[in-house]
Symmetry: C2
Subunit: 264 residues, 2 copies
């Protein structure tokens, strides 16, 4: 099984410089479609699906490998190696941002910069760190997901997407969640919400754009501030929008932030 | 400019047998995402965007070439040649169905069968033929589109999609329409709605599945009956659903019809 098939890799666009998109939890590469047309003329776009999502090969799922985000980061590096990508601008959303950061830590020479949308190195509240969730809240959410994945998606997608006045956005995210292999998605959620990658960040030396949303239930403003503090070569942009998926709910603002950073 | 870049070709799935998807007006390849996961294990999936849609190269647009559906059919054949596809099962939606039929007429050896969703060889009412629209209605619609493409999309997407109780479906189609290059989309609409390819059908000898929807404002039941009559090697299935996009609004029923035909 080739890497390109395993991760359903799709190369598009007509530029020289590579943008590599790393999806967040429960999403496949079609989630980026609102911002891609504006980028296709100038960049080479590399899209893929995590194993268990989209049109990836679910048979390639290995519970041991994917028991930490490192397994997903390895797949990012596999895609880079297979396509011989260099000077990559990695665009990562949510847990995809942290997966991208781990990939850049492991092979820094591969990456020019990281554009991270709603990143968080740790969703749990800890001493001197506000991740946004108490452990009991995460445990309850994961138990809910264990019991009924579809009901979980129906309940949590609107909270994640925000923008309650635009229900089509949440409907899209619910559908996206429900397209995943539920057994794999449940383990991926556990790995996502219980990981603490704060100690890895000292080894991240790639320039980063951090894009946070003013009202985001998953990655609160304190997390963006934390990342900006511990990553010396980072720029923090706070979009005046709500929700945890600005590439879906606020594509113009998201594109503007990405393009301004890349032009600088 | 390679064909693969021009038409944003994406190859996915893990089977040997090829399914080639030909999009309808105003849609890009992400419109198929509701039915693809169920097909990815068993088939090789070839997706692409017409020039002017999705992540295709709009600079490749040639008003002369694309002044008839034959220009779009040539692109289908270019994709087949570039990937050396054989024994292709072509899945075409709406005008994509007729584009696929023209491709199969031109290179019959390339195609094993056609699965046509809501096909129509002619949208105009003519003597002894009920296409569904009087010329004045088409002209008025095209004038509306000329004046204000976005307003046209807002007005017509709900009529095309049907299923008014599920507004997220129409919202998706509105968004899809508005992602197109409007100048190209306007000419494509004109070519779509004013073409009459009935006389070509006598030269189509590839086996066809015709999938029509019980309530479809764009391709009424008379059109399916007409196609079934003039295409001896065709099977007609009427889904008990509404709308012109069953791969979006009724993916399970659509898949069932496709899979039953392919298994027979």
């Amino acid at each position: 099984m080739s890497v390109l098939k395993r991760n359903n890799v799709h190369v598009a666009g007509r530029g020289q410089q590579t943008l590599l998109f790393v999806n967040g939890f429960g999403c496949d590469q079609t989630i980026w479609r609102y911002i891609l047309p504006a980028l296709a003329e100038q960049y080479r776009l590399v899209l893929f699906d995590h194993v268990g999502a989209g049109l990836s090969d679910a048979k390639a799922y290995d519970p041991t490998k994917y028991a930490s985000l490192q397994g997903y980061a390895q797949d990012v590096l596999d895609v880079c190696a297979e396509l011989a990508l260099t000077d990559v601008t990695l665009v990562g959303h949510s847990v995809g941002a942290m997966i991208g950061a781990l990939a850049a830590i492991q092979e820094p020479a591969r990456f020019q910069r990281l554009l991270l949308l709603c990143p968080s190195p740790c969703y749990l509240n800890e001493a001197d760190y506000h991740g946004g969730f108490d452990r009991v809240d995460i445990d309850n959410m994961l138990s809910f997901m264990e019991r009924d994945f579809v009901e979980w998606a129906d309940t949590f997608a609107p909270l994640i997407m925000g923008n309650p006045d635009r229900p089509t956005l949440s409907a899209e995210l619910i559908h996206s969640f429900c397209q995943n292999d539920p057994v794999i998605a449940k383990q991926f959620a556990r790995v996502t919400f219980l990981s603490d990658n704060r100690s890895d960040l000292a080894r991240l030396h790639t320039p980063c754009l951090l894009v946070q949303c003013a009202e985001d239930l998953i990655a609160p403003l304190e997390v963006g501030d934390y990342l900006h503090t511990v990553l010396p070569d980072s720029k923090l942009v706070t979009l005046p929008v709500s929700g945890h998926c600005p590439h879906v709910s606020a594509p113009r603002e998201t594109l503007a932030a990405m393009e301004a950073y890349m032009a600088a």
